[in-house]
């Protein structure tokens, strides 16, 4: 029997942003959700990765593994984002080495226990939470490269009425035939490449019909930026936190999503 809820908060991509995560837990509680789910990628990008784990535990968050967590937990050599551009690889490696070196062995062991997917009932809807896609942890499902008939196929093949994913860093929602849905819940680790400093998470509600609310979340981003500077993380990462524009790891963006950014 799957657990049943009516209103849940779902987020992805913490990227070591413990300040945004703390803000999210408070915000979601205020919005009276039944449960909180994290779709993976706890580390990367931000400072002091170990600060994230006690918050997840104290907040009663049900978490699953992203590609970053699989890599860090299993001592892989990199983050599995699949960059080929040497500029992107440079930053990805810097960030991975930093995160790997500062994640305790206890937390790495805990990450090895995270499931690859989470299923629950939201009202009458069967919800499947994945990181990238239901078939591949690191598959990018961008809004502009994911046809509706392709998601239909995934939903049928994986017995889901609602598929929730993250991984790309940009939220979107598509309603499919027969009241099925795909939701990319966004990430709380870094802003969305739109020139704003807030991050995003999602509230899924089925009282009685399915709705998704994308929640903009403000947090003390300046404190995070300063902490990143103290940790000597790349200046480009810190700029993203302060400006809301992505400046690295851009090659994986499709044309439409890339055009919306500044770089």
């Amino acid at each position: 029997m799957l657990e049943r809820f009516e209103r849940v908060a779902v987020f992805g991509g913490v990227y070591s942003n413990h300040l945004a995560l703390a803000a999210l837990l408070e915000d979601a509680r205020r919005r009276s959700v039944d449960a909180i789910f994290c779709l993976g990628d706890l580390g990367a990008f931000g400072p002091n990765p170990d600060k994230v784990f006690p918050l997840l535990r104290a907040g009663g968050v049900s978490a699953m593994a992203g590609n970053y967590d699989q890599s860090i937990a299993s001592d892989l050599g990199d983050c599995q984002c699949g960059y080929t551009d040497p500029r992107d690889n440079h930053y990805a490696h810097l960030s991975y080495r930093y995160t790997y070196g500062r994640t305790s062995s206890e937390n790495r062991a805990w990450m090895r226990t995270l499931p690859a997917e989470i299923r629950f009932m939201l009202g009458r809807y069967r919800v499947l939470c994945c990181h990238g896609s239901p078939r591949r942890t690191n598959e990018f499902l961008w809004e502009s490269t994911t046809p509706t008939h392709f998601i239909d196929k995934l939903a049928v093949a994986h017995d889901a009425d609602v598929i929730a994913g993250t991984h790309t860093g940009i939220k979107w929602h598509r309603r499919l035939a027969s009241d099925r849905h795909f939701v990319n819940v966004g990430v709380v680790g870094r802003p969305e490449n739109d020139g704003r400093t807030n991050v995003w998470y999602s509230i899924l509600d089925a009282r009685p019909d399915f709705t998704v609310t994308f929640v903009p979340l403000d947090y003390d981003h300046e404190s995070l930026a300063r902490e990143m500077e103290i940790e000597e993380l790349p200046r480009e990462f810190v700029e993203t936190i302060r400006t809301g524009w992505w400046s690295t790891c851009l090659e994986v963006l499709p044309a439409k999503e890339r055009k919306k950014g500044r770089f």
């Binding site: 699949g82 994911t146 046809p147 994986v252």
Partner: protein
């Protein structure tokens, strides 16, 4: 030695050999020796493409790719892309020398209306005429750069694809060279994709053919994510049947059937060119869908 078999895990990428082997250029590295007089494959009709797009819904196709030859030799190429964008994301692999303003304007509008991205992939093989023209032909650097400028003026961010004709240790310098050159013609945030050489067709004579040791064996597939290979997630429609991948168009055993439904059999990696894919992963895909070999611990196909 038995060649390893690769199953079609899902028909994610549907390719169209839309202008067959007809091209306005005669590049020395072309792995299928396209040119103005190569009629091995002819153009596809708009009707056959419409039928395939409709069928693709049933198969849950994720992305559509158009190649040749030079796709913009097809008189209805703009219309084909407009219609494709109603189904999903479209990518067209072009040499960028045949754009016209009205066509680009229509494509920009079509992408604007669509939920989906239109990717223009423009091939250029050096960031100076001295590097590019010996490979692609005299004057082609200037013509392709004009194409890039036209595309950028119409709001596109073309992906510049470059075959690696240098040592891997020079990647960074070549990358920077391309970035500077493209910025100097007004392309402020260039996107660049490097490709390995495929040592068949004319490229075999330009550099070298494959060595005897460049084969894929069954041992090499242990723990390897075969779904990352083109043949693991793609098929190519042509005017004379369905092929396994865009690279093996000249190989008679690359043809898998007359119709899409007949082409879903597993494929044996017996060609030397398969070695290049094995090493590099899904070389024909876009970076936005590049999930090559990534779910398999420590067995990355691309790095």
């Amino acid at each position: 030695m038995k060649a390893p078999l690769v199953k079609l895990e899902a028909l994610d990428h549907l390719w169209f050999q839309v202008t067959g082997t007809l091209c306005n250029l005669t590049c020395h590295h072309c792995f299928i020796s396209c040119g103005p007089t190569n009629h091995a494959f002819e153009q596809m009709t708009l009707e056959s493409i419409r039928d395939a797009l409709e069928a693709s819904r049933r198969h849950g196709v994720k992305e559509y790719f158009f190649t040749g030859g030079e796709p913009f030799l097809h008189r209805q190429m703009v219309e084909i892309l407009e219609e494709t964008l109603e189904y999903g994301p479209a990518t067209v692999l072009t040499n960028g020398t045949l754009f016209d303003e009205a066509g680009l304007a229509r494509l920009a509008r079509a992408e604007g209306r669509s939920l989906y991205s239109l990717e223009l992939r423009i091939s250029i093989d050096g960031f100076t005429p001295e590097q590019n023209d010996p490979i692609r032909g005299k004057g082609t650097f200037q013509r392709a750069m004009r194409g890039v400028r036209q595309a950028v003026e119409h709001g596109f961010l073309p992906l510049i694809t470059v075959m690696r004709s240098w040592g891997e240790d020079e990647d960074h310098a070549v990358f920077e060279g391309f970035v500077d050159t493209l910025r100097s013609i007004g392309y402020a945030r260039p996107r660049i994709k490097l490709l390995p050489p495929l040592r068949i067709g004319r490229e075999e004579k330009r550099s070298r053919g494959y060595g005897n040791d460049e084969v894929v064996t069954e041992e090499m597939m242990v723990g390897y994510d075969a779904g990352a290979l083109i043949c693991g997630h793609s098929r190519v429609l042509t005017d004379r049947g369905v092929w396994v991948c865009p690279i093996l168009i000249d190989a008679p055993d690359g043809k898998l059937g007359d119709t899409l439904e007949e082409s879903f059999d597993a494929f044996a990696l017996r060609h030397r060119a398969c070695h290049t894919c094995w090493l590099n992963g899904s070389i024909c895909s876009n970076p936005s869908s590049n999930a090559a070999g990534l779910d398999v611990a420590g067995k990355r196909a691309s790095s």
